[in-house]
C-alpha cells in the first residue's frame, strides 16, 4: 500500500464517529480518570459496536471518543496499515467521521494499533490508542476479577514475581515474549496489550499519550506522556528486549521488529520490518536490504 493521506465524506445516518455524544462523554470521563491514575483499569460502560468483540471495539470506542474533525488517523495491525482488520477499522472511521486518514506515522495525530508500537518515536502531539483483549495482567494467574482488583488495590504483585521466577527456574530466563507486564509510575502493574516485549522500552517516558481500550472487558487505562514504564524483572535477570539475528531484507534496518515470511516450502524464509510505513520510509531514503529486488509485491509493496 502506498503511503498516503486521504479524506472521505462522512455518512450522515450516524453521529460523528458513530457514537452518540452522551456515550463519548462517558468514555472521555473514563479516559480522564485513567490518565489521572496511570496504569489503573477504569471500568466503563462499553457499547456494542458494529464489529465483533475481540476485534478492536475498545480501541475503536476510545478513538471515537477523542477523534476531532481536524485529526489525522492512522490504523495499524501487526505494525502494518494494510492488514485486513486495520483496513476495516480505517474504513469505519472514514465512513462515520470523514476525518483524514494517513499511513505516515509522523503525520498522524491519532494512531490506533493492535499488537505493535510504531518504530518512529512518537511526539507530544500524538495519541496512541491500543486495542486490548485482556486488560488484566494478573488474569492468567488469577481468573477472578473480584480477586485481581483486590490485588491491585493492595499492590499485591507477589504472584506475578513468582511466575517470572518460576520461568527462570524452569527455562533459565523469563519466558514471556509478548504482553510482558510493566509497572507504571511505580504503582500499578499493567498489561501493555499483546505487543511483543520488543516494544516495551518505547512505552517508557513516551512523549505521546497512550490510551488502552478493552471493549469486551469494559476497561480503559492510560499512560500519560513522559510516564515511567518499567518492565518487570530481577536484578540478576534484567529485562531484555527481543533482538533479531537478521537485518530487514527490504530496508536493511537492524533496530526494528521483524516478521518472518516463509517464501517457499523448502525452508526458505525472509525477515522484513513489521512496521511497513517505517520500512517504506527507509527504502525511500535509499536503504536497501539484501532481497529488495526479488521480494514479492505482496510483501515489499509498491514502494520497493
Amino acid at each position: 500500500m502506498n503511503a498516503m493521506i486521504s479524506t472521505a465524506t462522512p455518512s450522515t445516518a450516524y453521529n460523528f464517529a458513530y457514537l452518540d455524544e452522551q456515550t463519548k462523554r462517558m468514555i472521555r470521563r473514563a479516559i480522564l480518570k485513567a490518565i489521572a491514575i496511570p496504569g489503573y483499569q477504569v471500568p466503563f460502560a462499553s457499547r456494542e459496536m458494529p464489529m465483533p468483540y475481540g476485534w478492536g471495539t475498545g480501541g475503536v470506542q476510545v478513538t471515537a471518543a477523542i477523534l476531532g474533525a481536524n485529526d489525522r488517523l492512522k490504523v495499524i495491525d501487526q505494525g502494518a496499515d494494510d492488514t485486513t482488520n486495520a483496513v476495516s477499522i480505517r474504513k469505519f472511521f472514514e465512513k462515520t467521521s470523514g476525518v483524514a486518514t494517513t499511513t505516515l506515522t509522523a503525520d498522524a495525530t491519532i494512531i490506533q494499533t493492535r499488537h505493535r508500537i510504531p518504530e518512529k518515536e512518537l511526539t507530544e502531539t500524538q495519541v496512541l490508542v491500543y486495542q486490548v483483549p485482556i486488560p488484566e495482567p494478573l488474569r492468567f494467574l488469577e481468573p477472578r476479577e473480584t480477586e485481581t482488583r483486590v490485588m491491585h488495590a493492595l499492590e499485591d504483585y507477589g504472584l506475578m514475581h513468582v511466575k517470572l521466577y518460576e520461568d527462570i527456574a524452569t527455562h533459565g530466563h523469563i519466558a514471556t515474549t509478548y504482553a510482558y507486564p510493566v509497572k507504571v509510575e511505580g504503582r500499578y502493574v499493567m498489561d501493555p496489550s499483546p505487543t511483543p516485549k520488543f516494544d516495551n522500552p518505547k512505552m517508557d517516558d513516551c512523549a505521546a499519550l497512550q490510551l488502552f481500550g478493552a471493549g469486551r472487558e469494559k476497561r480503559i487505562y492510560a499512560v500519560p506522556p513522559h510516564t515511567s514504564v518499567v518492565s518487570l524483572d530481577f536484578e540478576d535477570h534484567p529485562f531484555e528486549a527481543t533482538k533479531f539475528d537478521h537485518a530487514c531484507a527490504l530496508c536493511a534496518a537492524t533496530h526494528t521488529y521483524l516478521d518472518e515470511v516463509i517464501t517457499d516450502d523448502a525452508g526458505g524464509r525472509m525477515f522484513v520490518c513489521s512496521d511497513t510505513d517505517h520500512c517504506e520510509e527507509r527504502r525511500a531514503e535509499g536503504h536497501r536490504g539484501d532481497l529488495l529486488g526479488e521480494a514479492p509485491a505482496a510483501i515489499a509493496g509498491s514502494a520497493a
Binding site: 499488537h115 519466558a175 525452508g267
Partner: protein, 372 residues
C-alpha cells in the same frame, strides 16, 4: 502463503460481494422475504429478539436473513443497531399476572385456577419428519373455544398466599433500573443485573448450565411451578403527561421454578424461586434461565457454592454470545507479531537444550535459515 492476509481493501470488498452472492443462494430459487421469516421462523425471530435485547420482529427477521440464518450473528446485528438508539426511559414493570395467556402449564399442580392451557407446543408431537410439509399440504384450522375472562393467577402467587414460598421483595418505583448495557457490570451483582445478563445470554450456555444443576453440579430441586406464554401490555410514564400511557403489547414467555429451601435459624422452611423471562416464545431458554437464576442465589441463601452454575463471575462473564463469539473468532485475526516472538523464544529454548546436550538441534540440520 500466510502473507496473503495482507490483502487490503480490494480483498475485503470482493469477500463482501461473494458473501452477498452466497447469501442469495441459487437465483433459480425464489428469494425468501423477511416477512416470511417473521411469520414462519418465529422461534428463530424470538431468540434473536431476546439475545439481541430488542423487541422488533421485523428487524430480527431481517437480521436473520442478512446473517444467512446464523442466529448469533443475527443477534449481533440487532445489538449493534440497538446500541445507537436513544433512551427515553424505562417502562413500568409488566404484569405477567394480567397476561393474555396463549399457553400456560404447571408441573406442580394437576389443576390450577384458570386451567392448564397447552397452546402451540412441540411437547407431545412425535419427532417424525413431516414430508407433507415439503409437499405444501394444507393445514387444518385450529380448534377454538369461547373467550373466557376467568383470571389466571400465577401459581407462585397461590403458594405465596399460604406463605409457602418466599415473597418477592417489594419493588421500589423510585430506585434506578439497573442496566448492564449502560453501566459496567460490578461484581458481586444484584439479582436484577444477574437476571438481565441471563435474559440476553446465550441459550445454549444457559441450557448447559441449567442441565448441569439437574445432574448434581449445584442441585436446586426444581419444579416447574408455571410456564406461561402470552401478550402483556407495556406502559410508560411520560413525564409531561404525568400518568402511564400504553405503548402496545409484547409477547413474553415466563417461567417460575419452585425450589426447595430447608430454612435457617431465622427463617421457616419455604420454597424459593428461580425466574426466567424472554421475548416471544422461548420456553427452553426461560426454563434454563430460571434454573441458573436459582443456582446463582446460593450465596444469598447461605448455600455452599462450588458448582459452575453457582459461580456468579463464571456465569455472568461468559454468558454473552456476542462477546464470546467475537473473542473466540478474533483468533482468525493475524497474530504474527506475537507468534514471531514465541517462535524466537522456542528456537532459543531448543538451542539452549541442544547446547546442554551437545547435540545439534534437528531443525538446524534440516532447515538452514535462508536469510542467514
Amino acid at each position: 502463503m500466510y502473507v496473503a492476509v495482507k490483502g487490503g481493501e480490494r480483498a475485503i470488498d470482493n469477500a463482501h460481494r461473494l458473501l452477498a452472492t452466497k447469501r442469495r443462494g441459487d437465483p433459480a430459487v425464489p428469494e425468501v422475504a423477511h416477512a416470511q421469516i417473521r411469520e414462519q421462523l418465529t422461534l428463530a425471530v424470538d431468540r434473536v429478539m431476546t439475545e439481541g435485547s430488542l423487541y422488533d420482529r421485523d428487524l430480527a427477521a431481517l437480521a436473520i436473513k442478512q446473517a444467512r440464518g446464523d442466529l448469533v450473528e443475527a443477534a449481533f446485528l440487532v445489538r449493534a443497531f440497538r446500541t445507537t438508539l436513544p433512551r427515553f426511559g424505562a417502562s413500568e414493570p409488566v404484569d405477567t399476572g394480567a397476561m393474555q395467556v396463549a399457553r400456560r402449564v404447571s408441573a406442580a399442580f394437576k389443576d390450577i385456577p384458570g386451567g392448564q392451557v397447552l397452546g402451540p407446543t412441540f411437547d407431545y408431537t412425535h419427532r417424525l419428519i413431516d414430508f407433507l410439509l415439503e409437499a405444501g399440504a394444507d393445514i387444518a384450522e385450529p380448534a377454538t373455544a369461547p373467550a373466557d375472562d376467568a383470571p389466571m393467577p400465577r401459581v407462585t402467587d397461590l403458594l405465596g398466599n399460604d406463605d409457602l414460598i418466599e415473597r418477592n421483595p417489594p419493588g421500589d418505583p423510585d430506585a434506578p433500573v439497573g442496566d448492564l448495557t449502560r453501566e459496567p457490570l460490578d461484581l458481586p451483582a444484584d439479582r436484577d443485573l444477574r437476571l438481565q445478563n441471563l435474559a440476553r445470554g446465550d441459550e445454549g450456555f444457559l441450557l448447559a448450565l441449567g442441565y448441569s444443576t439437574q445432574r448434581g453440579f449445584g442441585r436446586t430441586h426444581p419444579f416447574a411451578g408455571e410456564i406461561r406464554l402470552g401478550e402483556v401490555e407495556l406502559e410508560f410514564v411520560a413525564e409531561d403527561a404525568g400518568f402511564a400511557v400504553p405503548l402496545g403489547t409484547i409477547e413474553l414467555t415466563e417461567c417460575q421454578m419452585i425450589n426447595q429451601f430447608k430454612g435457617s435459624a431465622t427463617e421457616p422452611p419455604r420454597f424459593t424461586r428461580g425466574y426466567g423471562l424472554a421475548f416471544g416464545h422461548c420456553e427452553r431458554r426461560t426454563m434454563a434461565m430460571a434454573l441458573v437464576d436459582r443456582s446463582l442465589r446460593a450465596r444469598e441463601l447461605g448455600e455452599e457454592a462450588k458448582a459452575p452454575a453457582q459461580d456468579e463471575e463464571f456465569v455472568l462473564m461468559h454468558s454473552d454470545n456476542v462477546q464470546a463469539t467475537g473473542f473466540v473468532e478474533h483468533l482468525k485475526l493475524p497474530h504474527y507479531v506475537d507468534f514471531q516472538a514465541e517462535l524466537a523464544l522456542i528456537r532459543q529454548m531448543r538451542r539452549e537444550i541442544a547446547e546442554r546436550q551437545n547435540v545439534a538441534p534437528r531443525e538446524q540440520q534440516a532447515l538452514p535459515e535462508a536469510a542467514e
